[in-house]
Amino acid sequence: MTTLSVVAIRLTRVSIPLTMAHAGSMYVIQKTERTVIELLLENGITGLGETWGTPDVYALAQRYARDWLGRDALDRIALREALGKSSYDNRFGRNGLATLAGLDLAAWDATARSLNMSLAELIGGRKRESIDVVSTLPAAILPRAVSRKELTDHLDVLSNTKLVVQFALEQQRKSGFRSFKLKSAAYSPEWDWKLLNELREAMPRARIRFDPNANYGAATATELCRRLDPLGLEFFEDPTGELEGIARLKAAVKTPVATNMWVVRDEHLVPAIRRQAVDVVLGDLFMWGGIDAWRRMARVAHAYGMKPALHSVYETGIATVANLHLASALPEVEYPNDSGLHFLSSDVLTEPQEVRDGAMRLPTGLGLGVTLDRSKLENVTLEGAEIRA
């Protein structure tokens, strides 16, 4: 039997500036930090992965990587089980799952390349070559990463909403985006209501999702979302917090309700199903702990009438392309993919991953179908480590 023994894992923590400040209710940022993973097999093939770039996750990745040396990448379930059989065994919570997801992605990529398949084919079949993607709209257009006080001062001037509308139209003109996600600072319902009305008027046919990251209380969120219902938004993403609050809100509105915060692990699925809490599980590959876990989530969600969709933050081309492969392979995925890649000032891949006519093409090569550009990687490297026996 073919075995794909892991001989080394290389980790590179990178920091990549964003082309503009991005504001939401949880952050105002102007850079993204990620950990790029290279998993080397005995057969000479290297798989690429990526995960969060916090120092905690980077350290955890080194620890997990040591456990993976000598193991068989073909058996990703066994790799995952080596770190614990249940969520109780995961002593590192969300960081543990994100670390696992990054290594798991590299193992899937290495396996697909070794078997002469694209990643989509290994996941379940290459069904689509072009995937619609979503452009994030910051809560406000800001000159730099400002303080919360400066942000709220800006939001107090309601006429500033026009800057976001202009930005959305630029995105539409430049790359043909048909789908947008408005991040909300969850500071002013009046700002959000005015801005979403203006966006709808400016782009009558666009799909627009609205994401306050659960920072509105349930009563405020429900009141706001009821007012927004006539706009026919694509969905309300985490309009408020905890499963119970979001379930009550869903019952009060006609617009679909999505979450990437309250249904993020296996054990959240059944309570969400029983409570009929959401319409869309906007699953993040890194929160769910990897490709197999995401695929299972999609099957379960679809079986009980929820729609799975792919969440993303400001990821490099590696994770962006991984999400394209998932969307291509899984017929359950109908919504456009989140993507923040076009806001990164540079990438780590040789092949540019461009958005044209609001969509990205699935790369045609083996595995992810992309190659790491070592020069680009070096330019954004914070630190690196190679784990080898």
């Binding site: 039997m1 073919t2 073909l74 058996d75 990703r76 379930i77 066994a78 790799l79 995952r80 089980e81 396996t111 078997l115 002469n116 398949m117 084919e121 290994l122 379940g124 079949g125 290459r126 296996d266 699925l269 059944v270 199903i273 029983r274 490709i291 197999d292 695929r295 299972r296 989530m297 099957r299 379960v300 079986a303 009980y304 017929p331």
Partner: protein
């Protein structure tokens, strides 16, 4: 959904196996020329074709089924003699019954449910609801048991098992590491006599 393999030809033959029963045997010829085989004793050619497609893909890549599906939870599968009925292949009813808490162990006849993908979907739901799966080899034929073992390797849960209607009360079935489904076709002499079209 069948396996992600480019299929050049698919053929199905009816053969008489040693027990006197009729089996349908499917051959899928992948675009690269690798042949894969599948079968059924319940005369539903769909499951045989699906199995043959996965077998062709596994053989062409040199990996067992679990290598294509993401990995394995175990190297051997417990097999029990069990007379309890399998769950009727009605997905709408099963989803509701699971939600209503009517099951603890899902007794699934994979030949009745039609495809590897369907078993994987049931397994995903079972895992979410913390249920286990017992795969029924309805005629306790070695081919059936080997197919069930290949599938059961990929199913989470300590209670995962194969159930048979006859034979010994308990046994342990090794998961084949041979490419494809790992089925030993030679146990039925009639298999080698099939005249496949070129």
């Amino acid at each position: 959904m069948a396996a992600p393999v480019s299929i050049a030809h698919t053929h199905v033959h009816s053969v008489r196996i040693a027990s006197g029963a009729e089996a349908l045997v499917a051959r899928v010829l992948a675009a690269g020329g690798t042949a894969g085989f599948g079968f059924t004793l319940n005369l539903d050619a769909g499951v045989a074709r699906d199995m043959a497609a996965w077998d062709a893909l596994g053989r062409s890549k040199g990996v067992p089924l679990f290598g294509l599906l993401g990995g394995s939870y175990r190297k051997a599968i417990k097999a029990f003699k069990d007379e309890l009925p399998a769950i009727s292949p009605d997905w709408t009813a099963l989803r509701k019954d699971i939600l209503d808490g009517r099951h603890e162990l899902l007794r699934i006849d994979p030949f009745a449910w039609g495809s590897v993908e369907m078993v994987q979907t049931i397994a995903a739901v079972a895992q979410a609801f913390d249920l286990s799966i017992a795969l029924l080899a309805p005629n306790a034929h070695p081919w059936e048991i080997q197919y069930c073992a290949a599938l059961a390797a990929t199913l989470k849960g300590e209670d995962t098992r194969i159930i048979v209607r006859s034979g010994s009360a308990f046994s342990s079935i090794p998961v084949s590491e041979n490419p494809g489904m790992g089925i030993d076709w030679s146990v039925e002499p009639s298999f080698s006599k099939i005249q496949w079209q070129s």
